[in-house]
């Protein structure tokens, strides 16, 4: 199973009968899903079990994705650079059964420090010496050290404040785990048990994936499987190119901005994209985007790729097999030293906000090319709220929650309120789980009525949440977005309302939050947040065009 070329003629190659190809495709997807299931069901970090913040993939030895689990789209393709760097540091030909490799360094193929990538080589059961494939997982660990619990410090200005960097490392050789590596990590995380646990879940998932792919090779024969895999990748590329070719040629621009970088609170951070469709290729150029910033919202290329892959897949069609072939027609231009391709040691932990905004910018550009397929702007945020403190027994807890806005109105109907969109698809924390895990009381959880932009099809609403601290002190890390820049309407629809947030101190003081903040809360203090609404679609016809029954954002109120 080597490189996918030269392409054999399907008519001449008996391995490529359509039944076998489709059966292998289904098998690969099922293997990736099984790997994903092992991580989700057995991991202990809330962000994995509730936010689905983990992903599994199978690769060819050359680093081409074969299949991906259905997971958070933010992780789409994130394993690609990680596997490329791991196999550059440890050539595939030198890998042995029982090996395990891992890394997390954002400046060496990673995304941000909590995301640890893990790789297990797959060997055919017939005893061939070289791996026939690679099984890999990426999982957001609860804490990897750094300035604040959870390893996503909003005030970080250098990566050295964000936690422990792991370059490509060999964690196990021939089944023997290098305990030294684990000891170093254990000394650098606030939650060593959770780390060890979730790493076990990743290893178990990779080993299961490797065993399943090996069994498939045993059944079909390594060479025949290799021919089928190459065909699947080639076909995905051809189908994606065909879909791009069917779109109009041209260049479309869109610009948006993040409120600030969390450090310089008065300076918005511009994101500019130019999407060019030429023939069967697509180029996304970020020229004009802000230079890298002091705060942690710089996005390394892995995250930007995830946003671009999402946009491409969403407009080219879901029935194309999801593998590395889909990504070949896409070219990214990421200006060096910019907020979408920073130089070390820029801080990068809070890149989700940037990837959300840039994904929506790509979609905003594509909406001009294929307006029937793309809605008005989604709220474009995922407010990350982390509360941490000590339990009565002295141990540290970290409670992280991602709070969403709504989806944009579209040609076919109103947007949906309070839902994870585009690169996100994370669950919120149930009120009952949150109050069980942390000394807080939630007073309100509601749709923010009327926050979605007006229109023939209004934008989806944001939400309102109000929390009270019962026992302090707790450290609050708040990463908001869209306080200053609204989600835009489309085709004459209105913009969504911006986000707002306050801290209501126990003594009655009311402190507005300017999008991003780290502070300490004491008993009786409250956090009140209202997330932005999404853009509306089409002009409002008269005064009563919006049909409240069709929209979960029902009747607007204050």
């Amino acid at each position: 199973m080597s490189s996918p070329d030269p392409a054999p003629d399907p008519a001449l190659d008996p391995a490529l009968d359509p039944g076998t190809v489709e059966i292998v495709r289904r098998r690969l997807e099922a293997i990736a899903e099984e790997m994903q299931g092992i991580m989700l069901r057995s991991a202990v970090s809330p962000i994995v079990r509730e936010a689905n913040d983990a992903s599994a993939s199978l690769f060819l030895p050359d680093g081409t994705v074969l299949a991906q689990s259905v997971s958070l789209p933010l992780l789409l393709g994130c394993l690609v650079p990680a596997v490329a760097r791991l196999t550059a540091a440890f050539p595939v030909a030198t890998m042995r059964p029982g090996d395990v490799y891992l890394m997390n360094d954002p400046y060496d193929g990673g995304t941000h420090i909590p995301d640890v990538s893990l790789l297990v080589p797959v060997f055919a059961p017939d005893g061939e010496e070289r791996p026939i494939g690679l099984a890999a997982t990426i999982l957001h660990h609860q804490d990897m050290g750094g300035l604040t619990p959870g390893s996503v410090p909003t005030a970080a200005t250098e990566i050295f404040q964000e936690g422990l960097r792991l370059p490509p490392l060999r964690l196990a050789r021939g089944g023997e785990t290098d305990a030294q590596i684990l000891r170093i990590i254990a000394c650098n995380t606030r939650t060593p048990d959770a780390f060890a646990w979730d790493l076990d879940a990743q290893i178990a998932a990779c080993r299961t994936g490797a065993a399943r792919l090996a069994a498939l090779a045993g059944k079909l024969g390594t060479d025949r499987l290799g021919a089928v895999l190459a065909a699947l990748v080639r076909r995905a590329e051809q189908a994606t190119r065909a879909a791009i070719r069917a779109m109009p040629d041209g260049t479309w621009h869109y610009a948006d901005a993040l409120d600030n970088d969390g450090v310089d609170l008065d300076r918005p951070v511009r994101i500019a994209v130019a999407v060019t469709i030429a023939g069967d290729g697509m180029t996304i150029d970020f020229a004009g985007s802000a230079p890298q910033v002091r705060g942690p919202i710089n996005a390394v290329p892995a995250g930007v790729m995830a946003g671009a892959y999402f946009a491409l897949r969403a407009v080219t069609g879901a029935d194309i097999p999801n593998n590395g072939g889909c990504f070949r027609p896409l070219h990214l231009r990421l200006p060096e030293g910019s907020v979408v391709n920073p130089r070390p040691p820029a801080a990068v932990n809070a890149r989700t906000a940037t990837v959300k905004i840039l994904t929506n910018a790509i979609l905003g550009a594509l909406a001009q090319a294929v307006p029937d397929r793309v809605p008005a702007a989604n709220s474009g945020l995922s407010v990350i709220m982390a509360l941490s403190g000590r339990r009565p027994d002295g141990s540290t807890f970290v409670l992280t929650e991602a709070v969403q806005g709504g989806s944009g109105g579209s040609a076919s109907g109103p947007g949906v309120g309070a839902v994870s969109t585009d690169i996100g698809n994370t669950m919120n924390q149930p009120v009952e789980a949150m109050e069980t895990d942390a000394p807080v009381r939630v007073h309100r959880l509601a749709l923010r009525r009327g926050s979605g932009g007006a229109g023939r099809h209004p934008g989806g609403d944001g939400v309102v949440r109000e929390y009270e601290v019962l026992r302090g002190p707790l450290t609050l890390t708040f990463r908001g977005e869209r306080h200053d820049h609204r989600a835009r309407g489309a085709m004459g629809g209105g913009d969504g309302l911006p986000s707002e947030a306050w801290i209501l101190r126990a003594d009655g003081a009311r402190e507005p939050i300017r999008s991003k903040l780290t502070t300490v809360l004491h008993a009786g203090d409250r956090l009140l947040m209202a997330t932005a609404g999404a853009g509306g679609w089409g002009p409002v016809a008269g005064d009563t065009a919006a049909d409240p029954a069709a929209n979960p954002s029902e009747a607007p109120t204050a």
Binding site: G19, A30, G413, A418, E554
Partner: protein
């Protein structure tokens, strides 16, 4: 624990999407099977038709009348539930609309509501002041006047059913129960469901979903079951109506009315029970069944003689955490359509031609090639004797559709294309079986496969070969598995309680008391069904996780560990908490491949009590019919071959039939490929064994 044989006729009737199936067992064990067309506009009408045909002389001799129904699920899917309101903790009226903020499909840019907002829109979701904390303590007393006002406001909107969902009610139902009393006083006749009774477990959105559906189904099921009871009275049937619930047991009609959300998987769980009964008859406690219909295939796992259960199911795509038979439904059936994707790959399903227009070979306007069309082209199905000869199939139409849509675009011959379609359908079904076995840590290779439905027998051998199974057990009547399952199902009640506490924080005495209280509640329910206490079999299960995990695993609680409470002393019996923790750690290793000696959280406890029906009498042997055997050209594995065609009823006792062969009966076709052989039992009314030879 079986009770005395029921002296009388037993009838099971299961309503499916296309047909309503009935099985009637006489006191001597003789079975009669019947299929009548379903009547979706009034499902009870088909029941009346079936009953009239099975008991034309009147129903006086009918000792048991058992029913499986899709009414509950269809009412939710088709928006025909009662107008429902929700009374909840003030400040949380939108929990049902917000849900968990996720969407079902990752790559969709445009999508609709992902939560059941249409079931209970904003104007029918009302908050009242009250609050419990995470320890279950009251921090804000219930405002009863607000509850009464909310109830009246809902009634004024025409609401017939009210769900009451308060935060942390699974820890203490005091406010929910009081609120129910207030609602009943303010609005007599209003149906009410409490979250603490429907789904007593943590996570308010999921609990809300189950509770609003339960409430909205109450008026619907009350009317429907009333209709059936009326039909039974009209026919002079003395037996009480019993209904199949989703866990795979029967409930009296009164209990079914009280908790209709338990009926959402009534039919598939009856089929799983039917498969368990077939396996028992074949001497196998464990196995997998696959019921292949026109649009979907249902896969169920049987362990220890009963269906494996799950408690994280869904209805209409919304979470409903009520224990159900773990039936995995996939979109692969005889009507699944073959098509070419944009990358030039051949796909099968998920679109189905259904019963109308149906596969191309039906000649009812269907032009797309389907899995059944492929079976016809490959010679696996006899066009003349399909469905007992009631529907003549047109092989030329099947060929033409496959040629136009699949063979020509891919440059294949028609037979090659048909075989590719057939193999992909096999693989989809094998993948589903793999998902419920291998992917959950169990090795199915020693297990038998039970094929059912019209199509199960055509795909069973290929599924078995793919997964390394060696034995296939074919039911006597594969087409009415759910209806026969009704006759084999136990009468069963269960009650549960939520905890969400580390087991180390729970004293053994507390756990034993909780178990004893649950047993008492369950025993009351069994007594109301007229079951004497000595006939009751008890099972105790715990849902547990490691601290921090979001998913639970289900573990048995040994009765002797639970029983320490009976005399108030542990008497050296195992601590139930430790038994749960140890059982959970082992279950975790089996399911996920890793475990550790870490603290375990008890999420909920459940007590189940049941009484099994009397063993079925052995029917008198029917003489084998001596029909001439035919031969047909079939194509398998790229090779054309001659297959012997045999009618099932003509197999002589003890006869071995080697593949390639085809065994036909009115409701299904069994493909016996080369390398397999069929062993006829002493009677064709027993399950047929098909074994792989090496």
């Amino acid at each position: 624990m079986a009770h005395a044989p029921d002296q009388g006729i037993e009838i099971g009737i299961d309503i499916g999407g296309t047909f309503t199936d009935a099985v009637c067992r006489a006191p001597d064990g003789t079975l009669r099977l019947l299929k009548v067309p379903s009547t979706p506009d009034d499902p009870a009408r088909a029941v009346a038709t079936a009953l009239a045909r099975l008991a034309p002389e009147g129903g006086a001799g009918i000792a048991r009348f058992l029913h499986g129904t899709t009414v509950a699920t269809n009412a939710i899917l088709e928006g025909r539930a009662a107008r429902t309101g929700l009374i909840t903790t003030a400040g949380f009226e939108d929990v049902l609309a917000i849900g968990r903020m996720t969407r079902a499909s990752n790559y969709d840019l445009v999508f609709g509501p992902q939560t059941p907002v249409a079931f209970v829109p904003a104007e029918r979701r009302l908050g009242v002041p009250e609050r419990l904390d995470a320890e279950g303590r009251v921090v804000l007393p219930l405002d009863e006047a607000a509850v009464a006002a909310a109830a009246r406001q809902l009634a004024a909107q025409g609401v017939e059913a009210v769900a009451i969902v308060f935060l942390f009610a699974f820890l203490d139902p005091v406010h929910e129960r009081r609120a129910r009393a207030v609602v009943r006083e303010a609005c007599p006749g209003m149906a009410v469901s409490l979250s603490s009774e429907v789904d007593p477990a943590i996570r308010e959105y999921e609990r809300s979903c189950a509770t609003v559906f339960d409430a909205g189904l109450k008026p619907v099921l009350d009317r429907y079951l009333g209709r059936i009871e009326h039909i039974l009275r009209d026919h002079g049937v003395p037996a009480p109506l019993q209904v199949m619930h989703s866990r795979g047991g029967l409930l009296g009609a009164a209990a079914a009315r009280a908790r209709p959300i338990r009926l959402t998987l009534s039919g598939p769980s009856a089929a799983a029970i039917g498969a368990a009964a077939v396996l028992r008859e074949a001497g196998c406690p464990d196995g997998v069944s696959i019921d292949v219909g026109g649009t979907s295939a249902d896969v169920a796992l049987i362990a220890g003689g009963a269906p494996v259960l799950r408690d994280d199911g869904s209805v209409a795509g919304f979470p409903v955490r009520v224990p159900t038979a773990d039936v995995l439904a996939i979109a692969a059936g005889g009507g699944s359509i073959a098509w070419i994707d944009t990358a030039g790959g051949l796909r099968v399903g998920p679109q189905s031609a259904g019963a109308a227009p149906g596969p191309a070979c039906y000649r009812r306007g269907g032009e797309q090639p389907t899995v059944l069309d492929a079976s016809v082209v490959l010679g696996l199905v006899d066009p003349a004797s399909f469905a007992g000869g009631t529907l003549a199939l047109d092989p030329a139409a099947a060929e033409a559709a496959i040629r136009r849509v699949v063979a020509e675009p891919l440059g294949l011959g028609v037979a090659e294309a048909a075989e590719a379609i057939h193999r992909i359908a096999n693989a989809a079904m094998a993948e589903a079986v793999r998902q419920v076995t291998v992917a959950r840590g169990s090795d199915p290779r020693g297990w038998p496969l039970v094929p059912a439905g019209g199509g199960g027998g055509l795909h069973a051998a290929a599924i078995a070969e793919e997964l390394g199974l060696r034995l296939i057990v074919v039911p006597a009547a594969p087409g009415v598995l759910a209806a026969s399952g009704l006759l084999a199902a136990p009468l069963e009640h269960d009650v549960s309680q939520g905890f969400f506490r580390a087991i180390g924080e729970l004293l053994p005495g507390m756990l034993r008391e909780a178990i004893a209280a649950l047993r008492a509640r369950c025993a009351e329910a069994m007594a109301r069904e007229g079951v004497p206490p000595e006939a009751v079999e008890t099972e105790i299960r715990a849902a547990a996780s490691f601290l921090g995990q979001g998913h639970t695993l289900d573990v048995p609680v040994p009765l002797d560990a639970a029983d320490g409470a009976a005399d108030g002393a542990a008497d050296g019996a195992e601590d139930p908490g430790e038994a749960i923790a140890a059982g959970f750690r082992e279950a975790h290793r089996r399911a996920y491949g890793h475990t550790r000696d870490a603290p375990v959280r008890l999420v909920s406890l459940r007590v189940i009590q049941r009484r099994h029906p009397a063993p079925a009498p052995v029917p008198p042997a029917a003489p084998a019919t001596r029909r001439p055997r035919g031969e047909r050209r079939i194509r398998l594995g790229g090779v054309e071959m001659a297959a012997v065609v045999v009618e099932r009823a003509s197999l002589a006792p003890g006869e071995a039939l080697h593949g390639p062969a085809i065994v036909e009966q009115a409701d299904t076709t069994l493909l016996v490929p080369p390398g397999w052989r069929v062993l006829a039992r002493d009677s064709h009314l027993s399950p047929l064994r098909m074994e792989r030879q090496e």
